[in-house]
């Protein structure tokens, strides 16, 4: 393993660990806001605030959001250094973020705090988030599977490219034909039978005059 790969491996572990911890911090902060403050809170400003945000909620959500962004960048860098596209890291982060938040919304909506009925808004939001997570997961799986299947094959631009150099066909000298592998040996030994067959085959295949353009 080269130094670049080793660095990428360590960065990917650190980034994934940081992102997971920050994501759980964000979820914990959101749970506090939903269960303690009724779903919304505010602080400061000229108006009377019904639900003041606690310092813990602010810290949990702020660290979870901005720390998660930094950790996601570290994880994407490590992923790229490991030879995987950075988009794979982005899709995995997308899936984890919306999956966990969606699950949290649905869980809170089904088991609301005391005094609240079933929170249909949270259920709807949670279902939408889970759908978004599923979309990211499908794209990620398709991308990884496609990469593994196409490994070692030339790119489509090379596959479909026309040959840059063609062999020149000297007039009067029939070139080698794929269906007459022993043609050269036959010519050397004085047997022209193979040449005659090849000429007829050329004429039949091209559907034109003998000696027409060869492919």
């Amino acid at each position: 393993m080269t130094a670049r790969r080793l660095t990428g491996f360590l960065l990917a572990i650190a980034g994934a660990a940081g992102f997971t911890a920050c994501l759980k911090s964000l979820v914990a902060g959101m749970e506090d806001v939903i269960k303690v403050d009724g779903g919304s809170c505010a602080s400061g400003g000229p108006y009377v605030v019904a639900h003041q945000c606690s310092g813990a909620d602010i810290r949990l959500i702020m660290v979870g959001t901005f720390g998660g962004l930094v950790a996601a960048a570290v994880y994407a860098g490590g992923t790229s250094a490991l030879g995987r596209p950075g988009s794979s890291a982005g899709l995995l982060i997308w899936t984890a973020l919306f999956g966990l938040l969606g699950w949290n919304f649905i869980s809170t909506g089904l088991h609301p705090p005391t005094g609240h009925g079933t929170l249909s808004g949270l259920l709807f939001t949670g279902a939408m988030f889970l759908l978004m997570a599923l979309g990211g997961l499908i794209v990620l799986l398709v991308s990884v599977t496609g990469d593994l299947r196409s490994a070692g094959r030339p790119g489509p631009a090379i596959t479909g490219m026309q040959p840059l150099v063609r062999a020149a066909v000297v007039p009067g000298f029939p070139g080698p034909q794929p269906w007459c592998g022993l043609r050269l040996a036959a010519r050397r030994s004085g047997h022209a039978r193979c040449d005659a067959h090849a000429g007829r085959d050329d004429h039949a295949q091209l559907g034109g005059q003998p000696g027409g353009p060869r492919r």
Binding site: A12, A17, T20, G83, R84, A151, P154
Partner: protein, 46 residues
């Protein structure tokens, strides 16, 4: 006659599999470490 090379090189395929496996291993290990560390982080921020 030019035919496209449609057969994947086993070495290249193995390398791609190895890279994907190492990346997946790092992701899972990092996620596990993050879950362990998250309780400490949440306790600190509370």
């Amino acid at each position: 006659m030019i035919t496209p090379n449609s057969v994947a090189s086993p070495a290249a395929r193995g390398g791609e599999l190895l890279r994907a496996g190492v990346w997946l291993l790092a992701s899972v290990a990092g996620a596990g470490l993050g879950i362990v560390l998250s309780s400490t982080l949440i306790t600190l921020l509370h």
